[in-house]
């Protein structure tokens, strides 16, 4: 189902990213929404954005309502995940393409959660919702009604790609990438500029972390930068190597999912973990070290 695209082919895992052209061809060919075809999911920051108009054939998956546990600060369990996917007609073998707003932050976050459950074939639409719209392509308010299928209950495997606070404490001294804005990194701001104050008691960053705001990996149109441009940032400038163990974090783990995707799938790093507790945990935790 792949199509040659020189920018995408240069990435370490080119099968993790699709172009708007590719998606448009799939839609035209009628494979989107077909059980043996492609499942298309929209994952946005705004819970209503999908309803205002979405790519034909897309279903909504909401990071908060669908992927987070409603009580504990954690993701849904295997049964919850099976329900979210099965009800959308997605089986374990289905190719899933996710796209969203905000340069695919929430799409990358959803992809990362899908990876916790080991869903094999999950990809991002390069440029996300904004690029599709900028190209003048079709949107619809029609919501597909797929027949539910059985998705197996799979135990979540957090360890390879998810770091908890204790893991980060044990990791100090090794590479940590803080993907928040410069003001959040310095401790001047306790939240993203333009975003709600989300209640961190302390400002600053985890000791030893370097500041590489997530947006540096994105072009203005929301697409990912080319592999040589990404290598210039993460390898040359930051001195990271693909075999390094790296932990990325932000405020709640959404922007760092974007960077996790860049390092893991576009540059081929083998041991990147996303610390989803991020600053809303670290900046509130008692007696953890903080650097300003």
């Amino acid at each position: 189902m792949s199509k040659t695209d020189s920018k995408i082919d240069a990435y370490a895992h080119p099968d993790r990213l699709v172009t708007t052209d590719w998606l448009a061809e799939q839609i035209a060919a009628g494979t989107v929404g077909r059980p043996d075809g492609v499942a298309l999911l929209e994952s946005d920051e705004d819970v209503l954005l999908y309803s205002t108009g979405h790519i034909p054939g897309a279903l909504k998956v909401d990071w908060h309502v669908d992927l987070n546990d409603p009580v504990s600060r954690d993701y849904v369990d295997g049964a919850g995940f099976a329900k979210v996917l099965g009800s959308r007609g997605i089986s374990r073998e289905t190719t899933v393409v996710i796209y969203g707003d905000k340069s695919n932050w929430w799409a990358a976050y959803a992809l990362w959660v899908f990876t916790l459950f080991g869903h094999e074939d999950v990809r991002l639409l390069d440029g996300g919702r904004a690029k599709w719209i900028a190209e003048g392509r079709e949107l619809t308010r029609d919501v597909p009604t797929p027949a539910a299928v059985d998705y197996p209950v799979v135990e979540r495997d957090d360890a390879p790609i998810r770091a908890f606070k204790d893991d980060v404490l044990a990791h100090l001294g090794r590479p940590l990438v803080d993907v928040r804005s410069p003001g959040e990194f310095s401790g001047e701001l306790l939240h993203m500029p333009d975003y709600p104050q989300e209640g961190a008691m302390r400002g600053g960053h985890i000791p030893g972390a370097t500041s590489v705001p997530w947006a540096r990996a994105a072009n203005d149109d929301g697409t990912f930068k080319s592999r040589p441009d990404l290598e210039a940032i993460y390898l040359t400038e930051q001195g990271l190597a693909p075999e390094d163990e790296v932990v990325a974090y932000c405020r709640i783990g959404e922007r760092s999912s974007h960077t996790w995707f860049v390092l893991t799938h576009l540059l081929g790093f083998e041991a990147v973990r996303n610390y989803d507790g991020s600053w809303t945990e670290w900046g509130n935790a008692v007696r953890v070290p903080i650097e300003k």
């Binding site: 920051e45 705004d46 819970v47 209503l48 309803s51 908060h64 309502v65 333009d194 975003y195 104050q197």
Partner: protein, 156 residues
Amino acid sequence: MSASPASPVPLPPALAEIADDFTSASNDLKLQLLLEFSDELPPMPERYAGDLSRLERVDECQSPLFLTVEVGEGESLDARVVNLFFDAPPEAPTTRGFAGILHEGLDGLSAAAVLAVPDDAPMRFGLAAAVSPLRLRGMVAMLSRIKRQVRAKTAV
């Protein structure tokens, strides 16, 4: 502060009616209703368009929202009419939906009635499960800024 915990401060009638519609709806229908409020939010009038500096920015919303309040003349707070104006981009339908609810429920009320709206009003729509409590903070912030502007504009 005489209201006992057993009898919460009532919402103004129009807002109470909206709250009833929401609380009796399923989660899917709540989102549909919220989308209608988003679609129907009146545009910012010409006199404010293009001059965001005259509007108050609500930083607590996940997406940018600007609002302003006009209070008419009158001899008492009961006689002075409040009008509300909002500006939020189409890419922020949830924020627009919250603004639409407040516009429909409060626009045209007296200053006294707006000031009497309980601060927990946004929690009375049963929206927490449908949109997540985190996102509801935006509506709480809008309401408190509306009341603050009314208070400031009616201060003698």
